[in-house]
Structure formats: C-alpha cells, structure tokens
Symmetry: C2
Subunit: 288 residues, 2 copies
C-alpha cells in the first residue's frame, strides 16, 4: 500500500437504518505536515476520497471539480468527516464533506469541501484546447526541494512524501533571488512510486511552496478558498506543475496552478485566494 | 429602490430563541431569467446578500471569495434560503447558503453557495499587480446586446435589467462568425442606473452570454461550479468584462471572467467549469 493509499484510507461509521453511512474517520498523519499544520492538499485529497467512495455506486468515482474553504488549521492526527450526498444525476454527483477535529474539548471545523464527481473514463471527448506545458529542463537538471533548504522546509514532513524538482529558472527564491514574476514551475511525483491518478490531483495543485515566494514575499500565505477542475486522468510518470500569481491587491492574491501529465496533457487546474503581506515599498521589481 | 435592490431584498424568518435567524426568503423574479431559468449570477447575488446581512454585525459585509455549485435550475419565483454562519474571525467571516425551491411538492436544492466575507474598506493595500483591462472601443462604439438578437436573447428577460455593449471584435458570434479564440469582451452596467458595488459583482461575472458562443459552440452551457474573487470595491461607471476560455476537454470547459471598474482597476475574477458539446469534427478554426 502506498503512502497516498494510506492517507486516503477512510473508515466509515455505522450507517443509520436504511441509509448510507455519512460519518467517517481518517488519519491525517504527521507525515503530511507543512510546519505545524497538515497541508491543505492532503486535506482536500482525503475529502475527495470520501466522496469518491460515496458516489462509486452511482458510477461517479472521479473528482471533476471541487471547492475548499479553510476555516482553521488542521493539526496532524485523526479527523472526522461528515459526508453529505447532495445530488446524483446521470452524468455527475455532488456532495459535501466537513472535516472536523477535536480541539480544546469541542469539535471544530477545519475545512469544508464541496465537489462534483463524474466518470472520467466516460468523458472521452479529446482535449480540444488547453494551455501547453511550459518548456522545462528535465527533472534531473532541476533543483530538488530538500528539507534542509529552509526552516519552513525543515518543518515540512510532506517533502518526504514528494519528489519535487524546481525549474532552475524559478528556483531563485530559495537563494533570496525571486524573479518577481510570481511564477514557480516544478516536476512532481510521489516519492514512493505511486503513479499519478485523479486522487493525486488535489494534492498536486496545493503541495508546492506558495508562489508568493517568487514575488519576494516570504512567510506563509493562508488560503481562504481553493477551487480545482480535473480535465483528465493523468498518465503514469512525472507531473508538471506551474504556479502563477498575476493578481496581488488589497492584502490578498490569486494563485493559479496548472498540472500536466507526462504526455503533456493538462489534467488539472486550480485557483485560490490567499492572504499576503506585501512589505512597505511594494513588491520587488521583476528581475531581468 | 433600484431593480438590483429589489432582487436583493431578503426577508428573514423568525429566529430560534437566542440565536440569529437562519431561514430567509427572497424573490428571484421573472425579470432575471435566461430562458426558463433564473440567471446563476442573480442566484449568487441573492445568496451573497443574505451572507452580507448575516456578517454585517461582525464587520464583514463584503463578499471576498465565493463558490457556487448549481444543482438544479432555479425557476423564476420565490426561493428559500438556509443560511449557516460557519466562522467569524478578526478579518473574515465564512458562511453557507442553500438556495431551495418548492418543486413537485418537495423542497429541492437549486444551488449551494459558500463564501468568505470581509470589510473591503479595510483592505487598503493597493493593487500591486493585476491583469490590465483590454483595450476596447468606447461603449457607444460597441454592439448592444438586444433581446431581438436571437431566440435565447428573446427569452432572456435579464437583458432588460442590463446594459451590455459587446466589443465588435468579439461580437461576430451573433452573426455566425465566432472568432474561435474563446473570448468575449463587453461593457456592462445596470439599465436603471444603479452604480456598481460589490453586490453587483457576482452578477457581473455570470450574466453575459457563454464564451462558448465565440468558440463556435452555441447552445446552453450548464455550469457545474463557479468560484469568484473580489479584489476591490468598484468605482461608479461602466464595468468592463472579459470572458475567456482556454481549456476545452472531455466534454467540459473552463470559463474565466475578469471585471474592471471605470478606473481600470480589476475588481473581480471568476472561474467556472461548465459542460460543452463540441460538434463532430472539433472546434472551428481560429479566424484571422
């Protein structure tokens, strides 16, 4: 069993008489942490897995689009999931998952994920148009994201689960030389060899460093909301991820992620709104 | 009272003992229809208004980011709103609205909107970077969207509430000459002179014709999910809206909307995943 399979193991509670079970538990272990909290991508992946199991019987096991609101940081440890099936139609099903944790004696909501699922194998129409994967040096010519790279990286156990190779053209942030363009490009795969599938995609869009680092704004960027779209089942091999932020205003910024598979097909997109503290004097100039 | 004020009038039910009221009603009248259904932008605007009233006391009256899942078409007429306050913090509050309608004797969910609200007046940081408004001829040199333009337009009463002027460079779809680029640009204001405010923005991102029209794919595009971000309070005057679709694959497409105010400031963005039926033979070629 891969580390991702382990993360996505859902333990369902007993169903009420005559209905499907709607309470479940999962273990968001310390191995998926970024600093003191669990990575939001891992939280979303667990919620998506619970919905995938909920709607498998309806023929809709695959995430098609989802939205996650992050209400409080998820601590490493067990989480309770409250799963609500909203609608099952012919082509899609929609449901919602509340991710809850015991906190100071009470049950507190960490994240609320709503999603529409489908059968991606039945969505056979080809990719008519999509942004092309950016040209990048091969993974071996890129910069591995290492846990000894920074204090934040040292506290990010998730880096042990991932194999991340950052395009040298966008890796300057780690040496105090952000490009200022607000762009990060990286190859991504799971460290234990689990090949990419739809279940990996919520993680893939949200497991890299915040693109604010390349804007010259270090420090953590709390996400208010993240929405993702799945455009296809990824082929085996490396994923290619591009993060981009073209909007920074009023103390928030918009981060887009695009994910391509090893055949060059765009398989997922996401957009998130996150907080940012731009230093006095504004953003640093764009390099070059 | 403007037509938008009328649309956004929320009638709250009686509160349970010691708590805020969470049940409300609104009238999504026949004046906001696109064909047989109410425009999704109007549905989102009503839900946002209910949340704005819910969190005004917490100092967070303004929509900051929202997500809407569309579960069944909203018919013109009264809707019931179930409003849930999820979290109120120092800078933001988050809540959820279920939009319900009586349908064949039962109460049926039309849309589920989750949103984070804030005080945009307190978000004083400037716009550090944002996509610039596209150059467009002035409104009087653009093409008004008229109800006699097509059968769909004839059935779209919402066009009586709006003043839409389509950039001639992207208006060819109406004459059977889409550009194939998947782009629509238009000036937008409310027909009765209501100046743009934050409450207009959920409507602004979703009240124009689907950008699929410019891909040469007519017919309605059902939205699965739409997420929006608010980047600032709009100034009085015309709004400028750009719709763009760069991803069409597997029977779905991604439509992005960007909205600028009359000062050229980007005030809102949205991204939605919608269904699309591309004709045999694929998308038509890009013109020019």
């Amino acid at each position: 069993m891969s580390e991702l399979d382990d993360l996505l193991t859902i333990t369902w509670g007993r169903a009420a008489e005559g209905s499907a079970p709607t309470e479940a538990e999962a273990a968001l272990g310390a191995g998926w942490a970024v600093g003191p909290a669990v990575n939001g991508g891992a939280v979303m992946a667990v919620a998506a897995a619970a919905l995938g199991e909920t709607f498998a019987g309806a023929g809709h096991p695959d995430l098609l689009t989802w939205s996650a609101f992050f209400l409080s940081p998820t601590a490493p440890g067990p989480v309770r999931l409250q799963v609500e099936a909203l609608r099952s139609g012919r082509t899609v099903s929609t449901g919602q998952v509340l991710v809850l944790q015991d906190d100071a004696g009470g049950l507190r909501e960490r994240a609320r994920i709503t999603a529409t699922l489908a059968d991606l194998a039945a969505m056979v129409e080809p990719a008519h148009r999509a942004p092309a994967a950016p040209p990048m040096p091969p993974p071996d010519a890129c910069v591995p994201a290492r846990r000894d790279g920074s204090p934040l990286a040292a506290a990010s156990t998730i880096l042990d689960r991932l194999d991340v190779r950052v395009d040298p053209a966008t890796a300057g942030f780690a040496a105090g030389r952000p490009t200022g363009r607000g762009e990060l490009r990286a190859w991504l795969r799971l460290a234990d060899g689990h090949e990419p599938d739809v279940a990996v995609l919520p993680l893939a869009v949200d497991c890299l460093m915040p693109v604010a680092f390349d804007l010259g704004v270090p420090g953590w960027a709390p996400t208010f909301e993240l929405t993702g779209q799945v455009l296809g089942r990824p082929a085996p091999g490396w994923l290619q991820v591009r993060l981009h932020a073209d909007t920074v205003a009023g103390g928030v910024y918009v981060e887009d992620a695009d994910v391509w598979d090893s055949t060059g097909r765009l398989v997922a997109r996401s957009r998130q709104l996150a907080g940012i503290r731009v230093p006095e004097g504004g953003l640093p100039p764009v390099a070059g």
